[in-house]
């Protein structure tokens, strides 16, 4: 409750600002010239455009949010948790009454590029238009053509469950001034075509920043911290830093490691789990090798990261290190190896694994509690799995073994407490 109160205080000036800016009308949305509109309308029925749109919608992972767990693909209904309340994803099948059946491409472009609904209403940024604004008009047209080609599904839109004042869409005017700049991706002529393709996919359609960047108290992406990792709000997982250079979350990852993880769900350096396993299963495993390679080239160009200044000069182990070591030998070493080295093609190494050492410890704690399978992909159709340890180990044991793996071999991460384990033991899984 305390935390909710704090959100409130922060929101008030923003709300006031929003009201002040209300008269400014936000970003201008110009309709396309008639000739362009005619060409675009024709393209909507072109099978080649539709096929390209299907690929783009897949790598944009639209279905992940716009499909309820037991629902029809793209028919909406999945409730997306945010710190401000839950927002249900709408139906984007071409149903006339409940979907996008009556939408023109200009309407779609307004949503994707400008973050505005068909009536000009400001859309909640849980729809990642902060990233999608970088998508080219051509690609947006192909995605729209594909969505329009789907069988219409009738599924009325659920009401958002946002708390006041976030329930007022006008409060978004101020938010947009702070965090949203519409604009298609601009290639960097100094870089290769491959790099630019990778940057376009990562920053735009792939919307990697939406999870892999820290958000501030108003849910905005912190500037200049792109892809440096962040806690995913309201989801209870940590999306790690994506730099492969010294100090980066993926330090030491080769281009092939990145391609492997995105294509198969695992690499010699780590395995996708939690929300990233969903991303791999539903989206990245379907990317072409050329696109995967481009993403890897771009990520490999991210700069080295400076370690936090408060890192202690002399490192000492947590008090429960010995207990953790015993538990590790008993429950973990068979698969992950006595030196945390893992087993190729089956179990990820824990030594140097960012999922183990990320700043919060959430990922290690929850992976130990929940276990589970690596994502089943075309390249790895029968993945190995990890037992859930929640039924076997109590909070103190899980904290001890978490601290052990975070501080053994080359790992030098901070400690977690039994109380932290208690919190995540009961965190919702979806």
């Amino acid at each position: 409750m305390k935390r909710r109160h704090a959100w409130w205080l922060l929101a008030l000036p923003v709300l006031a600002g929003g009201l002040l800016w209300f008269g400014s009308g936000g970003d201008p949305v110009k309709p396309a010239p008639p000739a362009q509109r005619e060409a675009e309308t024709a393209a909507l029925h072109d099978p080649a455009v539709i096929a390209r749109g299907e690929y783009l919608a897949t790598i944009g992972d639209c279905a992940a949010c716009h499909t309820a767990r037991d629902g029809k693909r793209y028919a909406g209904g999945r409730s997306l948790a945010t710190p401000f309340g839950a927002v249900p994803a709408p139906n984007i099948t071409p149903d006339a009454d409940t979907g996008i059946g009556q939408w023109s491409f200009d309407d779609f472009w307004r949503a994707l590029h400008h973050g505005k609904g068909r009536q000009g209403e400001l859309l909640y940024p849980v729809f990642s238009y902060t990233s999608f604004t970088k998508v080219s008009r051509d690609d947006a047209l192909a995605i729209f053509a594909y969505l329009k080609s789907l069988p219409p599904v009738r599924r009325p839109h659920d009401k958002p469950g946002l708390e006041f004042p976030y329930s007022l869409r006008s409060s978004l005017l101020a938010w947009r001034k702070l965090y949203f700049k519409p604009g298609v991706f601009q290639p960097d002529p100094a870089q290769s075509a491959e790099w630019n393709r990778g940057a376009y996919l990562v920053q735009g359609l792939g919307h990697c920043n939406e999870c892999h960047t820290e958000r501030d108290s108003l849910g905005g992406i912190v500037q200049d911290r792109e892809l440096t990792g962040g806690r995913i709000p309201a989801v209870n997982w940590y999306a790690p830093d994506l730099s492969t250079r010294p100090g980066g979350g993926l330090a030491g990852w080769s281009a092939q490691d990145i391609v492997d993880l995105l294509k198969t769900g695992q690499s010699s350096k780590g395995t996708a789990f939690g929300p990233m396993a969903d991303v791999v299963r539903l989206s990245t495993q379907h990317m072409t090798d050329a696109d995967l390679q481009s993403v890897a080239v771009y990520l490999q160009s991210l700069p080295p990261r400076t370690p936090p200044a408060d890192q202690p000069a002399a490192f000492s182990h947590a008090a429960d290190h010995d207990q953790g070591g015993k538990l590790y030998a008993q429950h973990c070493a068979d698969c992950h190896g006595d030196r945390g080295q893992g087993l190729a093609d089956a179990y990820p190494p824990l030594d140097g694994n960012t999922s183990v050492t990320e700043p919060t410890g959430i990922n290690a704690i929850r992976s130990i509690l929940l276990g589970g399978f690596a994502p089943a992909t075309a390249a790895n159709p029968q993945p190995h799995s990890m037992p859930p340890f929640a039924p076997q180990l109590d909070d103190e044991d899980i904290a001890a073994v978490t601290n052990y793996i975070r501080q053994s071999w080359s790992n030098r991460a901070g400690t977690v407490k039994a109380e932290d384990v208690g919190v995540y033991r009961h965190a919702p899984i979806d």
């Binding site: 767990r69 396993a277 929940l370 276990g371 589970g372 690596a374 994502p375 089943a376 029968q382 899984i429």
Partner: protein, 247 residues
């Protein structure tokens, strides 16, 4: 159309069609080869459900999987994926699995023939045990409750392809499942028989039947009987409409 035979026959036909689709789907994919280390791959399953899915004396709430019909196991895995059956740890574990891998996992556990350990049953009176036996073997026509054997097989080892066996399940697990059926935290696509049956039983009946079932010696042959060998006619009133309400 109102002949006394028509409705039960129609229902039976609908159920057979539904089961047939499952049987074909299951048969198709369990034939693809499993890697040698399949048991190792599914460690997330066996750490709770026991080696080869035999069940475990450590946790009476986790059911045995070995030898249950593949169609039934697949259906439950799918229900955990869609959220139709709720149990957070299971929902998380099955989340990343493809339809093909789900079928292989269901097929794998269906093929396992392993003995099981009986788990202790709470001490109940002879009277309660007798009531449990009555419900399990003969049902209670005054409450519209069919016997367990009428659907789950004469020896309670289940019926192919969809009906799970009850032999070898613990008192704790059976009690929790009966309660879950009553509150719809366990559900089926319809007919919603078990939900209706559980709601027709008295609270004390749930305990009685769970105690009797859990205390039975294991039959020599634990395999579910083939559908054709199961000749017990389903009582007309047992199969319910999709809504779960008696038609």
């Amino acid at each position: 159309m109102n002949s006394p035979f028509f409705r039960p026959m129609l229902r039976a036909a609908v159920m057979l069609c539904a089961f047939g689709v499952y049987a074909v789907a299951v048969a198709q994919d369990t034939t693809t080869s499993l890697p040698d280390d399949f048991e190792q791959r599914v460690a997330a399953c066996t750490s709770c459900h026991g080696a080869h899915g035999a069940g475990t004396p450590d946790n009476a709430l986790v059911p045995r999987l070995a030898g249950k019909p593949a169609g039934y196991l697949l259906q439950q895995l799918e229900y955990f994926q869609t959220g139709q059956r709720r149990h957070a740890p299971m929902e998380y574990v099955v989340r990343q699995l493809s339809p093909a891998y789900l079928r292989q996992i269901a097929g794998y556990f269906a093929q396992q023939e392993v003995p099981f350990d009986h788990l202790p049953v709470p001490a109940v009176s002879t009277e309660v045990m007798r009531r449990g036996e009555q419900l399990a073997l003969r049902g209670d026509s005054t409450r519209g409750v069919p016997s367990c054997v009428s659907c789950h097989g004469d020896k309670l080892t289940g019926v192919q392809p969809m009906m799970p066996g009850l032999a070898g399940l613990s008192y704790d697990y059976l009690s929790v499942q009966l309660a879950s059926w009553r509150t719809r935290s366990r559900a089926a696509d319809g007919p919603y028989c078990m939900g209706v049956v559980a709601n027709r039983m008295r609270e004390s009946d749930l305990q009685a039947v769970a105690a009797w079932l859990a205390s039975q010696p294991a039959p020599d042959d634990m395999r579910p009987v083939p559908a054709s060998e199961h000749t017990e006619p389903l009582p007309g009133w047992c199969v319910m409409g999709d809504s779960g309400v008696t038609p």
